[in-house]
């Protein structure tokens, strides 16, 4: 081995990076070459001088703990951010569901009830019927004219009563359309006030006693009797309308009158 090659290999030799064959070659050269051996000794001296533990910088003891807690902190932050979705998911979903339920309930409660919608329809029909030439299809004060008129026009036969003796004279009958079905509208008159009585078969079996409502200044009374729904609407005051309804419901009165 020549000195030039030895110089190239002396560092990896010192650092233990040479394979065995090369190492032995360098070793042999160092035995023979005084100059290279001296250079190698210097390098070794330098190596031990630099690797002197006194040259190492020792970290302050507190740093270890600082790093530890910084890492733990980081870990917790990561944990929290990864957990946050799960931790809040259940309450969040519950909250959302509750909100939806609440809103639906409010909407449901605020929604006009079937009865309200019906009342609205009844009033609208009543108002429309009072417009020019809309009141009756069969103008007659004779219930024997009015009642048969509905035959063939409806799948039921509305009871028609003559209450003229009590001050409620029959004006006539009319086909109307309420609650998605054709209904019988019986028109009565009391002084200057018209009364519309809407009649159609009820879906429920039981009778329902009278309920009074006021819509747009009109009084309404609804009831179910003997398988028929009745809605009476008029601008009459409630007392007179009640009286009318009582008369209408009272079979004896009907017989009487």
């Amino acid at each position: 081995m020549i000195c030039q090659e030895a110089h190239r290999l002396i560092h990896p030799y010192l650092d233990g990076e040479l394979d065995l064959v090369r190492s032995l070659e360098v070793e042999a050269h160092l035995k023979d070459c005084q100059t290279c051996a001296q250079g190698y000794n210097e390098l070794r001296g330098l190596h031990s001088a630099v690797s002197d533990t006194a040259l190492r910088f020792e970290p302050p003891a507190a740093l270890r703990n600082r790093i530890r807690s910084a890492v733990r902190n980081e870990s917790e932050t990561a944990n929290r951010s990864s957990r946050v979705s799960w931790r809040w998911l259940i309450p969040a979903v519950s909250g959302a569901v509750l909100l939806i339920v609440a809103l639906s309930l409010i909407a449901l409660l605020n929604r006009p009830s079937t009865s309200d919608l019906m009342a609205q329809e009844i009033v609208s029909s009543h108002v429309r019927s009072l417009m020019e030439k809309h009141l009756t299809d069969v103008p007659s004060s004779d219930r024997h004219t009015v009642k048969p008129w509905f035959d063939g026009r409806l799948d039921f036969s509305p009871p028609v009563k003559d209450l003229a003796a009590a001050g409620f004279s029959l004006v006539g009958g009319r086909l109307d359309y309420i609650g998605n079905r054709p209904v019988a509208a019986l028109v009565y008159q009391h002084q200057q006030h018209y009364i519309n009585v809407f009649v159609w078969p009820s879906t429920g079996a039981s009778d329902v006693s009278e309920k009074a409502l006021v819509r747009q200044g009109y009084n309404l009374i609804s009831w179910t009797n003997a398988g028929m729904n009745y809605w009476a609407v008029s601008d009459l005051n409630l007392a007179e309308l009640r009286e009318f309804v009582q008369l209408l419901q009272n079979d004896r009165a009907a017989v009487k009158f």
Partner: protein, 184 residues
């Protein structure tokens, strides 16, 4: 379940990281201290490096943990130096071997017995960072050429030549200091 699972996973990860990275704390600090040149800055850099390492820990697939951690420490040091001491990072030095090969021509003998730690420390601090870092890694941390090449992102041949040149420069620095002292 998922919450507990991720929690355990995270705790596990932290414990694993601590088991692997904390024993290397001394080497990390020593390298950082030699690169940034200040106690407080080195502390900050090491802490930053550990946090980075923890974030990257998911990508650590076992193997040489020293190379892995010290790579991050070194990179953190260089980032810090670029931001705070950009003057220290001069143009990359040329890695040539011929400089080493002509090293026989230095007739002056290094008086090894006069090498005290203080002198060597000062000479090391004067070395350009490229030489200093390979010397620290090789002589103090006893890292192999392969490990140094990984950490410093250099070919093994460059590691070898930088070590040779670094040692030569260090030697020259020490010789010139001693001759100055002798003259005085």
């Amino acid at each position: 379940m998922v919450q507990r699972g991720s929690c355990l996973q995270e705790e596990n990860k932290t414990a694993q990281f601590e088991a692997i990275a904390l024993p290397l704390f001394g080497a990390a600090y020593n390298l950082a201290r030699w690169l940034v040149g200040d106690d407080q800055d080195a502390e900050d850099v090491v802490q930053e490096a550990y946090l980075r390492a923890f974030r990257f820990f998911g990508g650590y697939r076992g193997g040489d943990s020293r190379s892995w951690l010290l790579t991050i420490v070194r990179n953190t040091c260089y980032t810090w130096l670029q931001q705070n001491r950009s003057r220290e990072l001069t143009d990359p030095i040329e890695d040539k071997l011929d400089e080493v090969e002509s090293s026989t021509e230095n007739p002056e003998t290094l008086l090894l017995q006069t090498l005290d730690a203080q002198r060597v420390r000062q000479a090391l601090e004067e070395l350009p960072i490229e030489f200093r870092e390979v010397l620290i890694m090789r002589e103090m941390e006893d890292l192999s050429y392969k490990q140094i090449s990984t950490i410093a992102d250099l070919p093994v041949g460059t590691v070898m030549s930088r070590l040779a040149r670094g040692r030569k420069r260090l030697r020259e620095l020490l010789v010139s200091r001693m001759s100055k002292e002798t003259l005085n």
